[in-house]
Each structure stands twice: as C-alpha cells, then as structure tokens.
C-alpha cells in the first residue's frame, strides 16, 4: 500500500507550548487509522496542521505524492482531503442539502457569468451538484435525505454529526479526517457509526483518519492506531498492541496505576 498522507518530523509550537513534537505519521489508501491520546495530547492540532488550518514549524508533509507544506485548507480540499470538526460546525442557516452542495465547491466551476445567464453548463452543473449532494445524504439512509430542505440547525444532534460527514464526503475527497465523530452519541448511534465508517472505506473507497476518545469505536473500526501524548507519538500498531503499551496506559491512568496493573 502506498502512503496517501505522510508526515515526517512535524512540529508545532504555540508560544511556550510544544503542541506537536516531531511526529511521523502516515495514512494509506484503503486504511482506517485511529488517533488516540488524553485531552491536550495534540490530536486536534495535528488535524489542523494536516488540513492547512495551522502551518507547521518544522517537518515535511506530502499528500498523494505532492508536497503540501503551506497549502491553504481550500487547496487541500481540492487535492482530496476533507474533515469534520470536534464541535459540530455546520452552516446552520443553510439547508441540509445546501451544506453538502457547498462541499462540491472545488469540483465545480460556474462563475459570475454562469450565475447571471444560467446557461446550459451552469444548469447541468447545478443538477450534478444536487445529485451528488443527495447521494452523500443517502449514505445515511433515511436520516438525512428526507430532511434535505430543513435547515441544518433543525437537525437532531446525531444527525448533525452525520451531516458533517456527508458534507465532507461531498467534497469527493480521498481522505476523510473525522474529529471525534462519536462524541455525544448514544450506544445505538455509535453502533451505526461504526458500521458507517467501515462502509465509507469499503463502499466509497475513502481512506480515513479518526480521532476518538471512545475506545470501543476505535477498537472496532481501526486498522491501525496511533497514540499521542504531550504532542509526541508514543505508540503505533494494532489496537491490541497500543492498548497494552505501558506508555499509553501511563498516559491515560498515570504512572502508579500503570505499575499496579503490572504493565
């Protein structure tokens, strides 16, 4: 498997805080990578660096074989990267469908002239956008599609999380970065989410990196798990390997507890 996303020695410092320190990371085509770590470990910062919201102080980043250092978020979306946000951030005053239509932005070209004349090209494009957006909504069965004309803010919490994923799917990305997609979901919804993340890879061909605190979710979906603590990568491997890693247990439970558990 070739690496779709690759980071080497990436660091980011905020004032005196070393948020991310010399992290090597990669995600391959067809792979689901789980990123875990205690609060403040630098997981979301890593996401923000990868998706262009932050510029790393050091390190090399490539996506699809291309050097992406200094790329803006919208350029990365065009290359094929899309993300969701830890705190759900939808375009609340736009309809569910429109949220996904915005996701199609980089795959379309209509400009001012097209908007004014509504020529054949623009009409065809609008139809394609609508169809693809509906296709993304349909991925979640009858949760989103029947509500396509509702405002995003009117959706129930779990549906808003789903819409974030649908919006990211609409960008026709190769890699999805999901920031705590299971946060706030009940056990039944989490079960559904686990199946959906699997289907995202198997049916839609997305590579996926997800940050998650919910260990059962990580355990069920991840092909590989990366653990961060204090901005550093402390472990990498299958879920079983990482979960039994001494440093990881220390990070979560403290040194004493880790010794008590006998390593």
């Amino acid at each position: 498997m070739s690496a779709l996303l690759e980071l080497r020695g990436v660091s980011k410092r905020f004032g005196g805080v070393q948020a991310v320190r010399a992290v090597d990371f990669h995600a391959d085509l067809g792979e689901i990578v789980g990123v875990i770590g205690p609060n403040g470990a630098g997981k979301t910062t890593l996401f923000n660096i990868v998706t262009g919201f932050y510029t790393p102080d050091e390190g090399v980043m490539t996506f699809d074989g291309q050097n992406i250092a200094g790329f803006k978020p919208n350029a990365l979306t065009r290359l094929g990267m899309a993300r969701t946000f830890q705190s759900v951030r939808l375009f609340n005053a736009m309809s569910v469908l429109e949220n996904c239509m915005v996701g199609q932005h980089t795959r379309t070209t209509a400009g001012v002239w097209g908007a004014l004349t509504r020529n054949g090209h623009t009409k065809a494009e609008e139809e394609t956008i609508t169809r693809k957006a509906q296709d993304a909504l349909a991925f979640f069965g009858d949760r989103l599609l029947p509500r396509q004309n509702d405002l995003a803010s009117d959706l129930a919490y779990a549906d808003r999380r789903r819409l974030e994923i649908a919006r990211a799917m609409s960008t026709e990305a190769k890699l999805l970065l999901l920031d705590e997609p299971a946060a706030g979901m009940n056990p039944v919804e989490k079960e559904g989410l686990i199946r959906q993340i699997g289907r995202l890879r198997d049916e839609r061909g997305f590579a996926i990196v997800l940050i998650e605190h919910d260990m059962p979710v990580i355990k069920s979906v991840s092909d590989r798990v990366v653990a961060l603590d204090h901005g550093e990568k402390i472990a990498e491997g299958t879920y079983g390997e990482v979960a039994s890693n001494r440093q990881v247990i220390e990070a979560y439970l403290g040194k004493a507890a880790a010794q008590g558990a006998g390593g």
Binding site: T77, R78, F91, E125
Partner: protein, 544 residues
Amino acid sequence: MIERFNDRNVVTGIIQLGLILLIITIGGFAYRASGRPKDGTAPPEPVMAGAVAGAASGAMVALFVIVVTLLAEAGYVARDMFESVTPALLDILTFQQNPWVGSAIMIVMAAGVGGLAGYAHRLPAEGRKLTFLGLGTLLIVGLAAPIVDVMVKGLGLPSGWLFRREGLTVAGALLVLVVTVALRWYLDRQGGFRRAAAKLPGITDSNIKKVGLTAAAVVVLALPWLVNSFISEVLGTVGLYILLGLGLNIVVGYAGLLDLGYVAFYAVGAYVTAVTTSLVGYLVTDDPLRPAQNGWTSFWLALPITVVIAFLIGVLIGAPVLRLRGDYLAIVTLGFGEIIRTLVLSDWLKPYFGGPQGVTDVPAPPPASFEFRQPQRLYYLILAFALLALFVSSRLKDSRIGRAWAAMREDEDIAEGMGVSVIKYKTLAFAIGAAVGCLGGAFFAAKLSVANPGSFTLLVSINVLAVVVLGGMGSIPGVVVGSLVLVGLPELLREFGEYRLHIYGAILVLIMLYRPAGLIPDKRRARELAEAKELKETSGVAAS
C-alpha cells in the same frame, strides 16, 4: 418641538401632530401601567389604573406649566435657558386658557386618555388590534396627507372632501378609519390576504403571484404621473439608494463583510462618469482654464467604463484589505472611504477632479432632446437600472457563488475547509458590490450635473448600511423597503426642519426594537438571529 409639530394638521381643525404626540406618550404610559404585571401579582383594574397613570402623567405636564408660569411671575424667564419653552408652547399645553385652568384641563384630559388606554386591556385581543391598527393608519395617512392628496388628484378624482390644509377632513378621517378596520376584519375572517385574493374572480392559486407582480409593476410605472415632480425627485433619490443598497447588500448581506467605506464606490461612480462626460473636457484639453465645450464621451459609454473601473478598484482595495476580519475590516474600510474623498479633494489631483469645487458641467444622458433630467424621466432610467441590479443580485444569490458567500458568512474557517477560496470570494463580493454601487454614483452625477467631494461623506456609508440592516441583511425586498423608509421618509419630513432627524432616529430605534432581523428579513438571516437567541436562552448548554 411640540410647537412646530402643532403647525401640522392631521385631522384639520380637530387635532394636530403636537397634541397627538402628547396623547401617545400619556396613553403609552397608561397602557403599560395598567397591564398585567410581569411578577405575576394580581392585575389592576385597568380603567382605573390607566386613568391614575394618565392623570399622573398629565400632572407632570401641568406642574411644568405652573413652574414656568410662577418663575415668569418672579422675573425668571425659562426661555433664557430652555429656548424651546415659548409662549406658543405654553398656549398649546394650556389649551389657550390661563395656566391654572389649562393645567386642570390637561390633568382631566390625561386621565381620560389613560382611562381609554387602560380600557384597551379590556377589549378582546382582536378588537384591540383593530383599534390600534385603525388609529395608526389614520396617523400615517394624516401625516402623508399632502402626498396622498396629490395622488388622488393625479387619478383625476375630487379630493377636497378628503383633505384640507395638509390634513384629513373629518369625513376623510372617518373613511380611513372605517376602511382600514373593515378591510383588516374582512381579511382576518378570510384567513389572510392571499386567501381573500384567491376568492376574487379570475385569480387562482397558480397565477396569484403573477397578478400581484403585474399590479406592483403597474403601480411602480404609473407612480411618477400620479405625484408631483418633488415626489418624483424623492423617488429618484430612493432609487439611487436602492442601487447603493443592493450593492452593499452583496458585501454585507451575502458575504458578511462589514464595509463602512462604501461611499468610496459611490464617489468612484460619480467621478468617473463626471470626468469622462463633463463639458469642461478634462480628458480632451490639457488646459482646464479653457474648457473644451465637449465631453470625452457620452453618458451611455461612460456607464460601462465606470462599472469596469469601479470593479477594478474594488479588487484593488479588496485584495489587501479583505485579509482582515470583522471589526478590523470595518475600520480599514472606513479609512478607505475617507482616502477616496480626500484624494478627490486634494490639490494634487485638482487638475483632474477639480478639488473642493468638484467636476462640473456633467451633461444629462443623451439624446439632449429627451431631457432625461426631468425627475419623471430620470425616475424611469434609475428604475431600469435598479431592476437590472435586482436581477443580478437575485441570480447571484441562488448560485454556486451565492452559496460560497453564505457559507463564508456563517463560518469563514469551515467554508475554507470545504474548499471555498475565502480571499477570492471576498474580493469578488467587494468588486461586484462596487460595480453595482457605482451605478448610483453615475446617476447622481448625471442628475445633479456635478460630482463634488461634499456629497461623499461618511454619512452616506452609514445611511446605506442602515438601509441594508433595517431592510433585512441579505434580503432584496428589504433593501427596497429600507430605502423607501430611510431615504423617502426623511425627505417627506422636511417640513419639520431640524426635528425631522428626531423622528428619523425614533423610527430607527423602533424598527430595531420590534424587527431586529429587519423589515423584510431574509429567511436565512432570520434563522441565524433566532438561533442566537435560543443559544442565549439555553445559555451554555448548546455552546458546550
């Protein structure tokens, strides 16, 4: 102030504006005082409570009159310090009686008004609504009497029995009251205007929109012939502000960029048109002392040139400035507005822009034989371009670009994360807004035959922004209604001299209090506000 307002009849010979303001104030206090208390204690007996509150308010006025009178007897003239306290004012407040009798009348009248206001609580909700609606309409029609009078005459109907000396006659007042109340009552029974209209012969659910639009078009087209040229002139000014408002609406309403220097593009429009067409011949001769007697080009060619230049300047100013956000952006645009004004005012550019005197001798749009400068004809010209701007705005709104703007306005970071190039779309909004707004400037120069720096002050930026915000951000009909209310109304209030800005201010405050999302809110925008409110109410729960 009351004195000035009392020169204005509402119902001629019966009641004047000054007295009405007094009654509204007293009645308003009494109505609030006699309502159900918020703390859940037992409601007062409304008529009594209203009468007491009214009498108390009246007593305050009476006390004022008596204090002033006693001071005057003791040799202190209140007017030395408070120059509005004129004998005429005292005459009004005492109903032309001596102070003591007048004060008694005032208290009794105030108690009566208060009692009536209190009685309003006793009315069923529908009756109360109809009463307030009827009286409110009566006040508005009474105030607008001179205009309505002209329009009725314009239709060729006799108006003498309705209006007399800038006010309604008693018959006219009764007619307005009865018609308003009866119409509203009928419409409520029918379940709203739309339902009632659908019952008319020849109107079906499917064509009701078309019929409405046609009716509106007829009214808009016929308007200049129904009113005099002063009002046509006002309508032309309203049209200019619609153009400016639609332009700024793209920047502020669609893209969410607070631009406090929008006047810059108004000035660019006016100056480019003026310089290219002025008969002084700025671009034809090198020596401004010897005018060329002909312009470089005609208005019609100047118009597209103006639009292109405004667009380019929009890009030029926008590209660096739009990296800023929110408040910072607002301050910098404020600066750019002033820079443009200072530039055209400067000695440095005086050979091109005429310094403080401005560019003069701007001809009317050709052909000269058509006399475009007549207010009625200019009205149609501005109307045509306002419709064009309307079309452009609405098409852009429902497009890929409009969606990108909306997304950007809601959450700039996420929009960028979803692939919208924020800088590009901000600049585009800025430039298109400039191109639309410059049309207003072009017509302004052609209308007044001059472009001078005094016309492009910060106040214009603020007025246009007020039109957009009060109309309803992002809402196209909102801009139209906002212009009518904020630009048309102050012109019509000119007879009140320096007090018209008081009324204007009061209207601004009232609109923002009762319609915070604007007069005709955009659906999206209204939702955003409602959401912010919900967030506040569930404080913290939704935010976490």
